[in-house]
């Protein structure tokens, strides 16, 4: 544990609030992941964690280390940008996989594939 008493409250309070905001949103997202009924509903839940959940924690980290070091520490932005780019890819692919499997099993209430036929025919 390092001593944070050199920091002023003007830094500590925003850092704390951002941390609480980020972790609460991530927690809410996983609560949704547990309690929602269908897969397509659950697909929405983790986006809470990957949007403002992550943003809150990363901003808190940027603020804290910048204040501690007395210079702009921005390397958390790399994780933020990376997550911003990769989350759509994984969720899209997961959604398509679910759609594909549900169609193959003829689950009710799933929109049918278009005339071209199979879902996921492009790579």
């Amino acid at each position: 544990m390092t001593d944070f008493d050199t920091l002023s409250l003007w830094v500590a309070v925003p850092v704390g609030l951002l941390l609480v905001l980020g972790s609460t949103l991530t927690l809410l997202g996983t609560v949704g992941l547990v309690q929602l009924k269908s897969f397509y509903d659950r697909l929405h839940a983790p986006t809470l964690g990957t949007s403002w959940g992550t943003a809150g924690v990363l901003l808190a980290s940027i603020l804290l280390f910048s204040a501690l070091d007395g210079r702009a520490v921005l390397h958390e932005l790399v994780i933020g940008i990376f997550l911003l780019i990769t989350t759509p890819v994984t969720l899209m692919l997961l959604g398509r996989a679910a759609l594909h499997r549900d169609r193959a099993e003829k689950v009710r209430g799933i929109p049918p594939a278009r005339a071209r036929g199979d879902a996921g025919s492009d790579g």
Binding site: L25, L28, G29, V31, G32, Q35, L36, S38, Y40, D41, L43, H44, A45, T47, L48, T50, S51, W52, L74, H75, L77, V78, L84, I85, T87, P88, L91, M92, G95, R96, L99, I110, P111, R114, R116, A119, D122
Partner: protein, 162 residues
């Protein structure tokens, strides 16, 4: 110039990331620049499709709109999860939206916007007839979502990638 730096945006971005990950110093600047140049040549060997010219102003406006929307839909979805099972009448469902966009870069950006916003999930896009299949967490009126996506995001993207 364009032979030496075939992909200036990529190289610039790589230098930026390199400097973010290390402490800023002259040595790292040189090393990062060298790596970024080599990466640019390597990408040039792969011959990706060239980006067409795009306008920056609509993109900036779009970014501002999206940032606001993400905050708002975060609050909305968080509230829906908290009140779930306590008599709220949330109904989720699939929405089909005919898109006019066909530029792959613009479509990729639209996919990022839709997925990054909690409450909407991009499932499938048919590149032949341009129909996008979405899943919406809180489906009030399917028509609302069609107009929302088309007027709010797609028109700005059309402007930017015209």
């Amino acid at each position: 110039m364009s032979r030496l730096i075939p992909h200036p945006l990529l190289s610039l971005g790589l230098v930026g990331v390199w400097l973010l990950l290390t402490r800023f110093s002259l040595g790292h600047l040189l090393l990062g620049t060298a790596i970024a140049l080599i990466a640019g040549w390597a990408l040039g060997a792969l011959e990706p499709p060239a980006l067409r010219r795009r306008r920056l102003l609509p993109l900036i406006r779009l970014a501002a709109i999206v940032a606001g929307d993400i905050v708002r839909s975060n609050i909305a979805v968080a509230r829906l999860i908290l009140t779930n099972g306590r008599g709220n009448s949330r109904r989720s469902g699939f929405v089909e939206i005919p898109l006019r966009l066909s530029d792959p870069t613009a479509l990729a950006m639209l996919a990022m916007i839709i997925t990054a916003t909690p409450g909407t999930a991009w499932l499938e896009h048919d590149s032949e007839n341009g129909v996008l299949l979405l899943h919406v967490f809180d489906l009030i009126e399917p028509g609302d979502w069609v107009t929302l996506i088309r007027d709010r995001y797609e028109s700005l993207l059309m402007e930017a990638f015209a």
